[in-house]
Assembly symmetry: D2
Homo-oligomer: 339 residues x 4
């Protein structure tokens, strides 16, 4: 029998319940994966709280990021075989190409049932082999946060050596963006309100760290640190308030990747700086399987660059793990392991 | 002696005064152009009113778009010769490549003295030969509005046959965008509040026209007209209020080119749809000389596609021409001719 | 029972035999299409002759281009339903993204069984809806030749209004390239050795036609017709000898799309002009399903631009149709219809 | 008085003579640079021998790469000032944008007088500030070889972390390509016929080195080292014979940058593999000033990655330096310093 964490009877962290279900069986073009590890994203928290999509049909299994072993393959599923250790792709039908509505809708843990269970049914075309040198938890850290950073900086941004990238805070996307930017030879400026996190960011290769609490006008500070020029890329994960600073920080012709699911929704935003400086605001909704594959290839070529795991909880402690994520105390990914 | 319209003693249309000045002489790498025609852009109106840049040093000569004859070339100016009929490039030092701050700052009529005078000093690298088949006024209509549309749809947007483009109203950028989109085989949906303008838009090849006054939720209408999919490109020239509709109208993975200098500045804008649908908001600050050259080449290959001139005033009636532009009654470009 | 033309017992047009087979049944993720029309490509001729891939396992069913009705769908096949009129995508697993070896190997009629039969088994992800306004034969004309032209000029080439495109002869790719180039507002220069074909090329919108038999140095002629500048794009379909002229005809920084399966294989080619003028030689192996979809969308928006059908043979006359193709007398596509 | 090495009275290394000339004076938009260092390229050797362009008007000053101090600025030259240490851009008028014929013709040391003299006249727009941390000789090593590698891999190739790059031999372009590929996180496979050079290539970060003399079919070896997949990028600098191996080594959809000025001109090349695998052959004629600036920026951010200087000769020993270059014994750049 499969154990699955389900949002039942209403939204809220307290409504998350561990249910026992029949083991899934693979349909045509599908595979069954026995979960080894799951990683959490802020989006999962919003799903559980009901603020991501209040119309989700309950019960609903949240989460998008899983690493595990293929234990069954359905008819026509030929890309992997039983025994392979795989990662699920965030948007199950988005192999490559344009971000169509249908492809975006195939994201795990949103409209589609997620992966917070001991066995998971995935599409054959929606899995990739886990890089052998990564632990289960590290591999599970990739599909949403790291692919988002890759899709933004590499696919959309063509980040180049010598360019400057601004990352905000120490969540999964930001830490992955720092690592990817460094892999491509870019300079990274990072923000964090906590001294010990700023230390770690420097140790990971950030050239500058800024305390956004003491420097409220940190967009201006970023601009100063770049000789008045501004940064080429901003990985914008913040809520209300950060966008205005990001638009001050970005250089003419630069890009701001809009990634954070903004808590407050609307914000009083002037797009005038966007216009006057030929800036691009690029929404990034994770990315296709092809980006996950490219990311895995890059990590395999750089075994010293590993996903940063903040803390790993036992699968049975999923609510505690989500609460830890909600606290904002993390540095990197919050994960779950099935023992 | 040269006649020049100058903003003197303060901002406002009523402060525009016709001054007599010494004829300009070309410095190294410069040319002198005797003005045949000037076209106006909404930006010029904002400059005159002081809302574009209140710190502009007065007296200031506004306007960016000029067609005229080269009457003198300075030392080292080799790209054109006396007698050539040329168009000035909007940003005088932006030949090609990135939209750097310095290049954007070289725009005529902004920080740099503009062209609303009978003789104009331009950079050798900042002029291109006027397409022979165009009238003076038609050639003068290109540098700002039409290049903006080209830079947005072609350079940033790679518009393709079969794609759909949304244009708003009947100003110079929108009409040029319609023409360029049609040149590339795209479908165009246009908005206008006036029936006779909608008729003209249809006659010019728009597949659909929408009255945004009777259909306040026109973003939804656009989506319906595209089978629920949305448009690939939005040329967003509107002030407060249009952006929200544009974000409803654009398809997943599509682009909104932010072009209009928004009257009200900030607006209560949610970027959530941007994020969720991988939409791009691309600021477009006109474009480089290379785009103007490509545009001229396209028009030369399509002599039937001519810039749409709403009305041509005499050079001495510049204030009346600007007032006409301010009225919003125009369809295409408002121009001035030096008789 | 299904009728299939098979290469049996050895290569050669005379070895093509009509066999009777059991009707195919759809596996998982597959569909069965009842053939309405097939179009032929030069590649099919090479396959039959054994010069495309002498190691092909016989019996082998050639051909890649089919239009027909879905008559059965296998488990997990959800993109189309019984009754849909569809076109097969050339490379069955190349939906979008990079031209990987595996994707290229999934091309119909090469290593994979082709479509020259009355019922065809295709992948669910390897079919698209036929544009309703096209006849069966017109729809069948698209997957290889027209997608090749689109992938070259649009995907690789970003062809733009005002640019110049050179096409060679009157085969399916060249005629489609002419049409696509015109759709995007480009100028087209075409070559043909026959006066009546040159007339038709002019009627279809070519600005210039060149008789390559009377002008052996036609690369030079092309350059003259473009004011000494050369063309931006060459759709190179020729055998030995044309490449040298193409390299003379192309402008600095321009592109030559290498499309023709060269009869003679190696040729004495200097790549020096490639280097000295920053020219690109881009191999084009048809294109992904996404290109076929974009092409269909463009044609649907331009119902006046229809695939050019040279002649339609009855399905039972496949050898005669291939012989007609081999004669080189055609203008556009040679097709077969199942009555 | 200025000392200049000139090809006089005919081509050939022995015809290179040191002449005394009047000091150059700057015209409008020009600057005079007092030479500190010059670097040599294989192209210079061909120029001197007369095989690059036999129609060059003699006497001719060869060489394109110079670092020196601005000692005079002409009227209208505003980008640098007296005292600045600058590098000359290879193609003096190619700032950014397309590789037009005119821009390519502005290359130093080709049709335009080169820099092998103690004072050099350059265009204001054709110089960039030398990165302060580089020595004169290191700075002089950049304009041709390193920009070529950057323009190929970054501008044309969008090289990404995890991709694989093949470089050939140990000339200036190949060594720079290795360094740039590593900066972007790519894997590098290199070839060399000499054991001690292979050692150095490994030390510089190549993952694999191949002795092309013992492995004549080294294209096959490269493919084996990449799991049968092939490399994403080939920096092709070789003469006759290497292209065939490069086409074996490159992956489907990959790119071969054609850089080497082939000694023998034409070669018996089959473009069939180009076609069948959607490979791109991209001619690379160095690159625009914008690429040189991006390269300088990248090097400034990575002070540990320095141009590799094989040997520095005194300016008076230019013929010996060229002879050393001709010997093929070098590893990296052969330079001259003015003492």
């Amino acid at each position: 029998m499969t154990k699955a964490w389900r949002i039942e009877g209403g939204f809220g962290l307290e409504r998350l319940a561990l249910a026992t279900e029949d083991d899934p069986t693979p349909g045509p073009g599908e595979v069954i994966v026995r979960t080894r590890a799951v990683s959490l994203n802020y989006r999962d928290l919003l799903v559980v709280k009901g603020s991501y999509d209040p119309r989700l049909v309950l019960p609903h299994v949240p989460c998008s990021d899983v690493c595990g072993d293929v234990i069954a393959v359905g008819p026509g599923a030929t890309r992997v075989k039983v025994g392979d250790r795989v990662i699920g792709a965030f948007a199950q039908t988005w192999v490559a190409g344009k971000a169509t509505h249908a492809r975006l809708r195939s994201a795990l843990g949103g409209a589609v049932r997620g992966v917070l269970s001991t066995e998971v049914r995935l599409r054959d075309e929606g899995v990739v082999l886990a890089p052998p040198h990564l632990t289960d938890v590290e591999a599970a850290a990739l599909p949403c946060a790291a692919v988002t950073a890759w899709h933004a900086l590499v696919d959309h941004g063509r980040v180049a050596a010598g360019e400057t990238v601004l990352v905000q805070g120490t969540g999964g996307v930001s830490i992955a963006a720092l690592q990817i930017a460094k892999l491509f030879g870019a300079r990274v400026i990072a923000t964090s309100s906590q001294a010990h996190k700023r230390e770690r960011l420097l140790a990971m290769g950030a050239s500058d760290v800024i305390d956004y609490t003491s420097e409220r006008e940190w967009g201006k500070t970023v601009r100063q640190r770049t000789g008045g020029v501004g940064v080429d890329h901003v990985v914008e994960v913040g809520g209300a308030g950060t966008m205005a600073q990001s638009l001050r920080a970005v250089t003419s012709g630069g890009s701001v990747y809009v990634i954070g699911v903004l808590a407050g929704g609307a914000e009083n935003l002037s797009v005038l700086p966007v216009l006057m400086n030929e800036v691009r605001l690029q929404g990034v909704m994770v990315g296709p399987r092809e980006s996950l594959e490219a990311l895995c290839r890059a990590l395999s070529a750089h075994p010293d660059v590993r996903p940063v795991i903040d803390r790993t909880f036992d699968f049975h402690d999923a609510p505690a793990a989500l609460a830890h994520l909600a606290s904002g105390a993390h540095f990197g990914k919050v994960c779950l392991a099935v023992s």
